[in-house]
């Protein structure tokens, strides 16, 4: 897998242009892994479903939890925490976790990612997104950090949301539709 991803990493990527310039507003789906907030692009998401019993597949990598039947379609479930090595366990029951089903445009097969909770669908102005600090290389998983201002008892706090590139994640796990 590593070689394959390295080979893919060498190929030109069309997202580069996207990386460098952020449009006026971004629309993302915010979710929770462990205790941190993450976000993925809205248009990469098809829907959010509740946790159902996952059927494990033998001889599959550790980050692939297994498959579920989503309205007649077999959907592969990726445990995103395993893939990006978040060890912090959520204090929620696994039955309360959610599966973000990804849009057909970014995967050739039906894929869903297991997250601890889906919080909201939000729009952020481009000004609130910091792209320079988090991503070390163009190829990083993290696109940027979103500064989310939330009001907590008369004072305004800023929450940091990690905006990740789901396609990169899929490429790393070898499930992308791109070659």
């Amino acid at each position: 897998m590593a070689t394959a991803s390295a080979a893919r990493a060498a190929a030109p990527r069309p997202q580069e242009s996207r990386r460098s310039s952020i449009s006026d507003t971004i629309q993302v789906v915010e979710f929770l892994l462990g205790r941190e907030h993450f976000a993925v692009d809205l248009f990469d998401v098809k829907e959010v479903v509740e946790f159902t019993r996952i059927t494990e597949l033998p001889s599959s990598p550790s980050h692939i939890r297994g498959i579920i039947d989503l309205r007649g379609e077999i959907t592969t479930i990726i445990d995103i925490k395993k893939q990006i090595n978040i060890l912090k366990e959520s204090d929620r029951d696994e039955m309360n976790s959610r599966i973000i089903v990804l849009d057909n445009t970014i995967t050739k097969s039906k894929i869903g990612i297991l997250v601890d909770d889906v919080l909201a669908v939000s729009t952020f102005p481009g000004s609130e997104v910091d792209i320079t600090s988090a991503s070390t290389t163009d190829d990083a998983l993290i696109i940027g950090i979103i500064r989310k201002k939330i009001k907590v008892k008369d004072s305004q706090n800023t929450e940091l949301i990690i905006w990740i590139d789901i396609r990169k994640l899929l490429r790393d796990s070898g499930n992308s539709s791109e070659s």
Binding site: V48, V118, A120, V121
Partner: protein, 947 residues
């Protein structure tokens, strides 16, 4: 140009000023130069230099006349420059000047230059080409010609001109545009309006009078539109038949509304008569024939009126004729016909037709009427043989058929009548050959015969059976009318026969059973029906009265009155006489016997038992036995008396013996009395000693009494203590009960708390459901927001919905959490309550335990008191026992005393007894004496009897 140029002063300032002026002049497009007062050119502008074909520098210093030639004499009287300098005023001169070989019309505008001292130091001259002016004039002339010819689009060509001229030309063109534009617009609008293509109102802004034009045009458009609308309204209303609609002409000003008003009037003029006609036609169509129209109309309307009136006439005429025909037909005047000659055209066709109709109908009708008349009178005519058409043929056939049916029916009726007269009651007519209800009458006669003969047969059969004595049962079938009478009469006959049989049976049975008083009730028979039974009753009476008399006499005999005899008043005849005599004889015989027996009995009563009944008395039969018995009595009694006499004698002898014995007994008892007195004396002595013992006993008794009373008071006290302890115990019981009820209440509270817990658990479950629901809703909101965002603009509305759903989910979750909090609070509270209840329970238990202990204590007290009581009782008993013992002792002593006394007494008694014995002996002796007396008496008595 009042530059201070001081007479060609070529100082620096002057030069500067000249340069300045030069600059200014260069700016001017028209050729321009300045000269000093000697007509030397000071400066020339570029425009002039160009015209001349020299440089400005070459021109300076020369005379202006050298530069160009003018028409007028230079520096002459006409020279504008000169004049200007002379007159110190602006001068304008039209002339010609030659530039570059070309002579052209120009205008010289000269202005004097005055220095600061007020001296004229020179002049400035501006040369304006008049060729432009002339050309302009030519152009203007062209424009004027074009305008007069009406070619409004003609414009001057500014390209031919330069500078101001061009400007002027352009401005002339613009002026023309300004005039002609609105004019064109007006022309175009008026053209369109004239062609009926009403344009929109002009909205552009115009100024001044043009605005007036615009307003007027717009007003015209308004008026035209309004008029068109009104006309359109009127037309459409007329087409749709709304004939009342008229346009409102008040909104028109001046004579604009005339046309519309005219259309209104037209409509009125046309619709008026139309309405009248419509109304008339409507009324005529509804049969309400109106009066002829009398108003005057003009032109074609008058025609219409005449035609309507004519129509009314024709309708009235026709109605009258039809009424005439109808009434005549109704009154039966079948000959009446209407006169059709007074109708024109085909108006009379209907009435003629009715005439013909009447003819064609009445002919056959008359025939039919005649036939029916004959048939009704019983004169059955021959069948109709003429040929008719259509339904009339039908009528003929029907009349013939009627004749057939009538004949058939008459035959059948005759048949039935004859058969009935001849007594052939079974004959019936065949009704099958009739169709429909024609056979009904014959069938009816059949039925009538059946219904008459049926009952008749039944009656005959019944009478036959009754006559033979076989009583049939009552007829139960239902009959109608008089048959019912027959049936009732038959039934009544059967009833009467039954009744009579029953009565006779009754009387026979009663007689057989000896119920001689039974008579039949004749009252229930009507007429002479009861005669037989009444006769039987009488017969019975005749038989029974002697029997009753005989019964009376027998009864008398039974009561031993043998004097009774049958009454002579009884009308007895024949065998009854024998009966009476027999009974009377019985009485005779018995009376006789009784008399004889009585006589004999008297004899016996008089103690003459020797008398006997002899055969002289006439006694026979059974009475003989009585006679013998009476005699036997006398015999027996005599014998008995004899025996008695003997016994009395024996008795006297025995009495003597008894007397002797009594004497012996008397002497013995005297002896006994002596011994007893001795015994009595000894007993007295014993008595004294006993008295002493008794006294000692009494003392002991008193002591015992004291003990008893003390124990009594102790007993009383212990009883009180018992009472109190019982009270205490009761109170404790009550308290215990109270505790028990508290325990019960707290148990109930516990139950309630448990229930509350259960309820709260339920609520908790529901809250769980709500939370679940909120989660699901949240998920839904998220998905909805995703979809809305993906839909972009189109999904904006949906996005709003999604956010609403999300907030709803959040609210639900918040509510669920609230409720959860409340539930846990409640649970804590109920726990506290349970704990408090448990604490209370413990207190109650402790209290209960204490109470129980108290109760035990009380019980123990009660027991102790009881024990004391018992002990006291024992003491009392013991002292009683003691007292009893003492009593017993005393009693025993008394007994002894008594015994002693009784011994004493007994001895006395013995003495008395012996005395009594003596007395008894005396008595016996007396008795014996009595017996003797009796014996004597008896003897005396028996001596009386004759035996």
């Amino acid at each position: 140009m009042a530059n201070d140029v001081s007479k060609l002063d070529t100082t620096a300032a002057n030069t500067a000023a000249i340069t300045g002026m030069q600059m200014v002049m260069n700016a001017v497009q028209s050729p321009m130069y300045s000269v000093d007062d000697n007509f030397n050119v000071v400066s020339v502008n570029n425009a002039l230099a160009m015209e001349i074909g020299k440089t400005p520098g070459e021109c300076v210093g020369q005379k202006c006349s050298a530069l160009f030639k003018s028409h007028h004499q230079c520096a002459g009287a006409d020279c504008a420059v000169k004049k200007a300098m002379l007159l110190q005023d602006f001068q304008s001169q039209e002339t010609h000047a030659q530039f570059n070989g070309k002579m052209m019309p120009v205008v010289f505008d000269a202005t004097p230059i005055v220095n600061s001292r007020g001296e004229v130091s020179g002049a400035v001259n501006m040369i304006k080409s008049r060729s432009d002016d002339q050309s302009i004039a030519a152009e203007i002339a062209q424009l004027k010609t074009a305008a007069l010819e009406g070619k409004l689009s003609a414009r001057a060509n500014p390209a031919l001109f330069k500078g101001e001229s061009r400007q002027i030309v352009e401005e002339i063109n613009e002026m023309l545009d300004a005039y002609i534009g609105p004019l064109n617009v007006t022309a175009e609008y008026v053209e369109r309006i004239s062609k009926g293509d009403i344009p929109q109102k002009i909205t552009e802004k115009y100024y001044g009078d043009f605005n007036e034009f615009k307003n007027n045009l717009n007003q015209l458009i308004d008026v035209v539109n309004m008029r068109n609308q009104d006309i359109g309204l009127l037309i459409n209303s007329a087409i749709e038949g709304k004939l009342d609609v008229r346009a409102d002409i008040t909104k028109y000003s001046g004579t604009n509304g005339k046309m519309v008003a005219g259309i209104n009037n037209l409509l009125d003029a046309v619709v008026g008569p139309l309405n009248v006609t419509a109304e008339y036609v409507d009324r005529i169509s509804k049969g309400d024939i109106p009066q002829k129209i009398s108003e005057n109309y003009r032109g074609d309307f008058n025609e219409i009126k005449n035609n309507v009136n004519h129509l009314i006439d024709v309708v009235n005429m026709r109605n009258q004729d039809i009424s005439l025909l109808i009434n005549s037909a109704v009154e039966g005047k079948l000959d009446v016909r209407a006169d059709i000659t007074k109708y024109s055209g085909t108006n009379g066709k209907m009435v003629a037709g009715i005439n013909t109709l009447l003819d064609s109908v009445i002919g056959p009708l008359n025939v039919t009427a005649e036939y029916v008349d004959r048939i009704s009178k019983g004169d059955i005519p021959q069948k109709i043989s003429e040929n008719y058409r259509g339904d009339f043929n039908e009528i003929k056939n029907n009349v013939n058929h009627l004749i057939d049916v009538v004949n058939m029916r008459n035959q059948d009726i005759n048949l039935l009548i004859n058969s009935a007269v001849e007594g052939k009651l079974d004959v019936r007519a065949d009704i099958a050959k009739y169709s429909g209800t024609n056979g009904k009458m014959v069938e009816g006669i059949n039925t009538m015969l059946d219904s008459v003969i049926g009952p008749l047969n039944v009656t005959a059969e019944y009478v036959d059976r009754i006559s033979k004595g076989d009583l049939p049962p009552r007829i139960t079938e239902k009959y109608n009318g008089d048959f019912n009478e027959i049936k009732n009469n038959l039934n009544q006959l059967i009833d009467v026969v039954h009744m009579r049989n029953d009565d006779i049976g009754l009387l026979i049975k009663a007689a057989a059973e000896g119920q001689l008083g039974t008579r039949a009730d004749v009252g229930k028979y009507q007429g002479a029906n009861g005669k037989m039974v009444a006769g039987i009753n009488n017969m019975l009476d005749v038989m029974v009265s002697p029997i009753n008399e005989a019964m009376r006499v027998s009864h008398e005999y039974a009561n031993c009155n043998f004097r009774a005899r049958l009454s002579e008043e009884l009308p007895l005849k024949g065998d009854f006489l024998k009966f009476r005599n027999a009974l009377n004889d019985i009485g005779e015989s018995v009376s006789t016997t009784i008399d004889v027996v009585q006589k004999q009995a008297n004899e016996y009563a008089n103690c003459n038992f020797t008398a006997r009944i002899d055969n002289s008395a006439d006694i026979q039969g059974d009475f003989v036995a009585i006679k013998d018995s009476m005699n036997n009595v006398g015999t027996s009694v005599s014998k008995a008396l004899n025996v008695v006499n003997q016994q009395v004698v024996e008795l006297a002898a025995n009495a003597q013996q008894a007397s002797a014995s009594a004497n012996e007994v008397s002497s013995g008892s005297a002896h006994v009395a002596k011994n007893v007195t001795l015994m009595s004396q000894n007993a007295e002595k014993g008595s004294e000693g006993i008295k002493q013992i008794l006294k000692a006993m009494e003392d002991m008794s008193a002591n015992i009494e004291e003990v008893a009373s003390t124990t009594d008071s102790v007993s009383r006290l212990s009883r009180d203590a018992n009472e109190l302890s019982k009270l205490g115990a009761a109170r404790a019981q009550k308290a215990d009960q109270g505790m028990a009820s508290i325990t019960k209440s707290s148990a109930e509270v516990d139950v309630i708390i448990e229930d509350i817990k259960a309820e709260m658990e339920k609520i908790g479950k529901i809250v769980g459901l709500i939370t679940n629901l909120a989660n699901q809703t949240n998920l839904l909101a998220l998905n909805a927001a995703i979809e809305a965002a993906r839909a972009g603009d189109a999904g904006r509305g949906f996005a709003v919905v999604a956010s609403e759903v999300k907030s709803l989910a959040q609210e639900s979750r918040a509510s669920a959490e609230n409720i959860s909090e409340m539930i846990s609070k409640l649970q804590k509270k109920s726990e506290q309550a349970a704990v408090a209840m448990a604490g209370a329970n413990k207190e109650v238990k402790d209290g209960s335990a204490a109470l129980t202990e108290t109760l035990e204590m009380f019980n123990k007290i009660v027991l102790s008191v009881d024990q004391i009581s018992k002990d006291m009782d024992e003491v009392a008993k013991a002292s009683e026992a003691q007292a009893a013992a003492v009593e017993q002792l005393t009693a025993t002593v008394h007994e002894v005393s008594d015994h002693v006394q009784s011994t004493s007494k007994e001895s006395m008694d013995a003495a008395a007894a012996s005395e009594e014995a003596s007395a008894s002996v005396d008595q016996i002796a007396r008795v014996i004496g009595n017996v003797n007396g009796i014996v004597e008496k008896v003897s005396a008595e028996t001596a009386k009897f004759q035996v």
